[in-house]
């Protein structure tokens, strides 16, 4: 490995292609940490937004008008406002309202840091779309199938959990796939509230090392790779969930 880094250093010296973020162990370290942060943020937001989608869609099917209206208001709010503004709203407007806690060094600091706010705002953003995606899947499940569950004595939750949701998920997987891809790409906007994720770190490196082009290309390839893994995983999931004789 070391000789490979030496080779990259040589490429820089000889041809001016500046891959310092690979061969320099300090830059490499912070870039990797940034990528890890992106990964954490992506995984957490995917998980949370799916949970929001499942429960939101369940609430939308509720008999209580108030609940339905609240969910609808939430969806409209997060769908129809820019995600960056939402993040600023959470971080700059809601953040200061939160109680402060004293850290290990005796300094008072906000209860939630920028990472937590990014996670919350992105999850709510993607969650709003997930509710609509799951809802459309649920609506596509035949009401007769649901009636059969009712006739067999399933509770409303059991029918949802064991019949409606498994079918709805299969129906809406392609749409979910799209939204999650979007979510992973949108994690870069956490840059704006100084979450040390990949884009943030990359911009620090290119400011320090003046290797904008190389850094940008690295960045694009990284996201191409990350989203590629997600899509590959989703396709595997779609295959694993395929039911003989159902759908296609």
């Amino acid at each position: 490995m070391d000789s490979f880094w030496e080779f990259l250093r040589h490429v820089h010296d000889a041809y001016g292609i500046n891959l310092v973020h690979f061969y320099d162990s300090f830059e490499r370290g912070r870039l990797l940490k940034g990528m890890l942060t992106t990964l954490q943020l992506s995984v957490l937001c995917i998980g949370l937004s799916i949970l929001i989608g499942i429960f939101g869609a369940w609430l939308q099917g509720s008999r209580f008008r108030v609940l339905k209206t609240l969910v609808q208001a939430y969806i409209q709010f997060f769908r129809n406002t820019p995600p960056l503004v939402q993040m600023f709203f959470f971080y700059f407007a809601l953040g200061p309202l939160m109680p402060r806690v004293v850290n290990d060094y005796g300094i008072a600091q906000p209860m939630l840091g920028s990472f937590a706010w990014a996670m919350i705002s992105l999850s709510f953003f993607a969650g709003a779309f997930n509710i609509e995606i799951f809802r459309s899947g649920i609506d596509a499940v035949q009401s007769a199938t649901v009636e059969a569950a009712d006739a067999l004595g399933f509770s409303r939750w059991q029918a949802y959990r064991y019949v409606i949701l498994p079918l709805a998920v299969r129906i809406c997987l392609p749409a979910l796939n799209n939204n999650l891809v979007n979510l992973v790409k949108t994690t870069t906007q956490a840059y704006a509230i100084a979450v040390p994720e990949t884009l943030f770190v990359a911009s620090q490196i290119w400011s320090d090392r003046i290797n904008v082009l190389e850094m940008m290309i690295t960045l694009l390839l990284f996201y191409l790779f990350l989203v590629g893994i997600l899509v590959w995983g989703m396709i595997r999931l779609e295959r694993a969930l395929a039911i003989p004789g159902f759908g296609r």
Partner: protein, 252 residues
Amino acid sequence: MQANAAWTPDQPIVSVRDVHKSYGKVEVLKGVSLDVRKGEVVCIIGPSGSGKSTLLRCINALVGIDKGSILVEGQEVHDPKLDKLELRKKVSMVFQQYNLFPHKTALENVMMAPILVLKRPKEEVEAQARRLIKKVRLEGKENSYPGELSGGQQQRVAIARSLAMTPDVMLFDEVTSALDPETVKEVLSTIRELADDGMTCILVTHEMGFAREVGDHIYFTEKGVIVEHGPPATFFKEARDPRTREFLSQIL
């Protein structure tokens, strides 16, 4: 639904009295009454839209009623305090379009409700489910998904699924009308066997031959009322009401 103290097996197991049901402004059932005794096979026939499916749904409390009373084993089905689950254990329904769970195998379809609803142990339920699959002559299809089965096979899985709840009464809603003539026979013979075993059955059907052969009592409905009823021998030969005669002449 604790078996009502007043109810004994020699009284009707299902007793429908003057039931009215509207969907919005449309009155679908306009005072329907019928009695079913334990072990009896009652067939309901009548033109499309006359409210046959609605009547079955009311008996099973899948929909509410506006007026009247429906007693199952002496217990009022539309009592708001009634535990629906207790009713579901007594009355089971089979649908025209089978309505199997497409993401579950035939065996799983049969096992789901006993495990989730009756909370019975899995091993015991599986053994019972295998027996039921065998009973409806689908041995070897345990692990097939509904999408891999023919209509007749799916309908027999649906019957096995209903039987797994060990109901006292079974409702069949035109269970053969989505099937081709060959598979109709398979399903009818399954129902006939159930009837022979003494299962109480209420079936909505267009299969007059079957109704005449297996039915103990035939009801003819039109426009939300029961026009005429009687045992098959007299019903099919000596129908008095002109509406019944007209219907029978068209269909026979």
